[in-house]
């Protein structure tokens, strides 16, 4: 499935902010080719913001995101569920088929072979038989499975997941984690925002501990130490409403 080399993401002194308050502050480092990294940190630590910055949904205030080995449209991005309109009258099949965007484009119709691919992707996430269900009738877990089927079909070499397991039961999470591990095994670069410490420890080899700034970044065992976690909490509490101008060079 995957022939070209895995992509990497380099962050150079990256600052992303909302109304001048930085959500990600002077962050530098790299997601290595083929790595599987969790972004972990307290609420408001800039985890989702960082993903949006990588995808290009938010423009950096300063610094830059360098995608190496891929283009902007070779990113599979799973947003938080709240960013989607689940009342929109789409079928499960339609949601998954959005993943064919790069191959089918805006205009061309989806052929029989591609329809077969969609069926296979739905089968892989355990949604066979749900093709014609309207998404508004799905449970949170089923809907997330449909979005994973879309990611499967997007077949991108870089995959960014924003809290993929919020409000999802243990079995669904286990199956989806298996799917993510398979992507990692195929040499794709995977980055996921998570806030379940145990899952990160058990299942994800690398971690970026973020509290607006980088607290630690590397192998999960080295990053998630008590000292680092305490420091993340401290840094996070330092956020001020009346902060002064940041004098650090951009």
């Amino acid at each position: 499935m995957l022939k070209r080399s895995a992509p990497s993401i380099r962050l150079d002194n990256l600052t992303l902010s909302y109304r001048r308050h930085p959500a990600v502050h002077h962050l530098s480092g790299s997601f290595q080719p083929g790595s599987f990294t969790a972004i972990f940190g307290p609420n408001g630590a800039g985890k989702s913001t960082l993903l949006k910055g990588i995808v290009g949904l938010i423009k950096p205030d300063s610094g830059r995101v360098a995608l190496e080995g891929i283009g902007r449209n070779d990113i599979g991005y799973l947003p938080q569920q709240s960013a989607l309109d689940r009342s929109f009258p789409m079928r499960v099949l339609d949601v998954a088929a959005m993943g064919l965007w790069r191959k089918a484009g805006i205009f061309s119709s989806i052929g029989r072979r591609q329809l077969g691919d969609v069926e296979a992707a739905l089968a892989a996430v355990g949604l066979t038989g749900f093709e014609d269900r309207i998404i508004g009738t799905l449970s949170g877990g089923q809907f997330q499975r449909a979005l994973f089927a879309r990611l499967l079909l997007q077949d991108t070499r870089l995959i960014l997941l924003d809290e993929p397991f919020t409000a999802i039961d243990a079995r669904t999470m286990d199956e989806l984690l298996g799917l993510i591990a398979r992507w990692h095994g195929e040499g794709r670069t995977v980055v996921t925002v998570l806030h379940d410490l145990d899952i990160v420890r058990e299942r994800i080899p690398e971690t970026l501990l973020l509290a607006r700034e980088k607290v630690a970044w590397g192998p999960t065992v080295d990053v998630l130490t008590d000292a680092n976690l305490a420091r993340a909490r401290r840094l996070h509490e330092a956020f001020e409403d009346n902060a002064e101008l940041c004098e650090m060079p951009a």
Binding site: N73, P79, D85, F88, P89, M90, W101, F107, Q154
Partner: protein, 290 residues
């Protein structure tokens, strides 16, 4: 022969009735997908806003060259696009939300429009612009409506997938490099075109009814986007037919009759539609095992 007199006669005997019907059918077919997307995007009231916004453009056209279809159309389209682009741009670049931004633009636009019409024309002219005269559609007006319907359907066929994706998951479009913003503006432009096409027939205010009411009713008859579009077109055509006939036989004003017919179908849909209506909630079939 009572049925003939009731339904077929008026259209077979009078050219103005046939033209009115053709204009309304074209508007209904073209307005159906527009209305459905407006409703799905929670922009139903935006149709109203845009209808007010095109008024000063049409009025300036009227001021310059009287009752000229061409001048009023060009003016209406220009004013509509100006408001759509201006309000859309402000909503995307400042914290002001889209609804507030559009409201601000259209209120100014409406004030300007009424001012211009009052300076130049009489109240009767103002009434014509506001409420139209579907029984006075001439050939150029029919061609205009037909042309706008053609452009609308072709454009929507091209940007359909973009629009659906933009409604459901705007972040996805951006992440795959799709032009969601472009689709949004093209869609707003189509809204403007349809309103301008319709205001000769039904007037700037009433035309919104023929676009939004059938779409809001269609929600009760189908759960899919294509199904809702088809249902909205059928409901629009039905309302036009009923409205025209009622207005003919009872000698009532035409465009309100059409809109009221659409309103009656809407009430019927709420009461007895297949999905989510009162009847379907009351008569819910017994639940399944799994």
């Amino acid at each position: 022969m009572a049925l003939y007199d009731l339904i077929l006669g008026p259209f077979l005997e009078f050219g103005f009735m046939r033209r009115a019907l053709m204009g309304c059918i074209a508007l209904s077919i073209s307005g159906a997908p527009i209305g459905v997307f407006l409703v799905l995007r929670r922009m139903s009231l935006m149709g109203d806003v845009m209808a007010h916004a095109i008024l000063p453009g049409a009025a300036i056209g009227f001021l310059l060259s009287g009752f000229s279809l061409f001048a009023m159309t060009v003016g209406g389209v220009a004013a509509g696009l100006l408001v759509a682009l201006g309000a859309g741009a402000i909503a995307r670049t400042t914290p002001l939300r889209e609804d507030a931004s559009f409201a601000a633009f259209y209120l100014v636009s409406l004030g300007l429009g009424v001012m211009i019409v009052s300076i130049k024309g009489s109240n009767i002219d103002l009434l014509h612009v506001l409420f139209g005269n579907v029984l006075a559609l001439d050939d150029p007006a029919i061609y205009l409506i037909g042309g706008i319907a053609t452009v609308t359907l072709l454009t929507l066929a091209l940007i359909y997938r973009l629009l659906v994706a933009e409604c459901f998951d705007p972040g996805f479009l951006k992440s795959v490099g799709g032009a969601g913003g472009l689709a949004h503006f093209l869609f707003l432009a189509l809204v403007v075109l349809n309103l301008v096409g319709g205001f000769n027939a039904l007037g700037t205010l009433m035309v919104v009814g023929l676009i939004v009411l059938p779409a809001a009713s269609a929600r009760f008859w189908s759960e899919s986007v294509p199904g809702q579009i088809a249902a909205a077109a059928v409901i629009g055509i039905g309302s036009s037919l009923v409205g025209l006939l009622v207005s003919y036989h009872a000698e009532l004003p035409t465009s309100p009759a059409i809109i009221l017919a659409a309103g009656a179908i809407h009430a019927l849909s709420i009461l007895a539609g297949r999905h989510g209506s009162f009847a379907s909630q009351a008569l819910r079939a017994r639940h399944l095992r799994g």
